[in-house]
Amino acid sequence: MITLKDIMTGINGELLTPGSPLGLECPAVFASDLMSDVLTSAEPGSFLLTGLANPHVISTCSVADMAAVVFVQGKRPGPEVVEQARAKGLPLIITKLPMFEACSRISALFGGRIHGR
């Protein structure tokens, strides 16, 4: 089982929502900057990797039952976005890695056997 903490460590990430459950399981990953795609194709419970850092990401994740968000490429969301996520109990991580490298490292954590899109 790969957890939020494993992901954070694997991508040199920083947790933006202190108190989030580090043992939260990551069953699948969905990578996209298009919230339309998240609403259309992401599996509930997935971790979202995105380069978009606006409040719509949080609303989309809430509606689509995403379990956590990883902001790639150092895209730091504003404090209002972090507060919105905290209120909804949605863990946020930020990494300086670009999208492909972050996906690649997470895939390696799962030994290449993760279900991701």
Binding site: D33, L34, M35, S36, D37, L39, T40, P44, L52, N54, P55, H56, V57, S59, T60, S62, V63, A64, D65
Partner: protein, 147 residues
Amino acid sequence: MAGDAVFRQEFPVKGGDFAKAGAVACRIKDLLKELGLDAPIVRRAAIASYEAEMNVIMYAWEGRVKLAVSPGEVRITVDDKGPGIPDVDLAMTEGYSTATPEMRELGFGAGMGLPNIRKNADAFRIESWAGRGTHLEITIHTNGHQL
């Protein structure tokens, strides 16, 4: 269904109000969870509501989202005042979009909204009048879930 709904609520949506985008869908999701509906049903209703809410915000001047829940189904009705959709069949095509670059920068306008509403609904009806607005009816069966 119209007469036997055991729960009803109505929400206004203001065109162009991107700051509040998602507020109605999140409220509908919370309400359906509180009513004890199954998670997959709640998710489908929330996604369909969100897509419809975004369409009002992106394209219309104002709209109203009505939620009605009965023992057998969730019905979401959306009426907006706006430019309407000149060609509904074209708008229902995956990937067809008239979104502005600003909408796309927010992560929307991929031309998947209406098709995704249809995908998440058990029954979906759309009517639109050019220069007046659009009416959507989204029905999701609750698999006999008793409220």
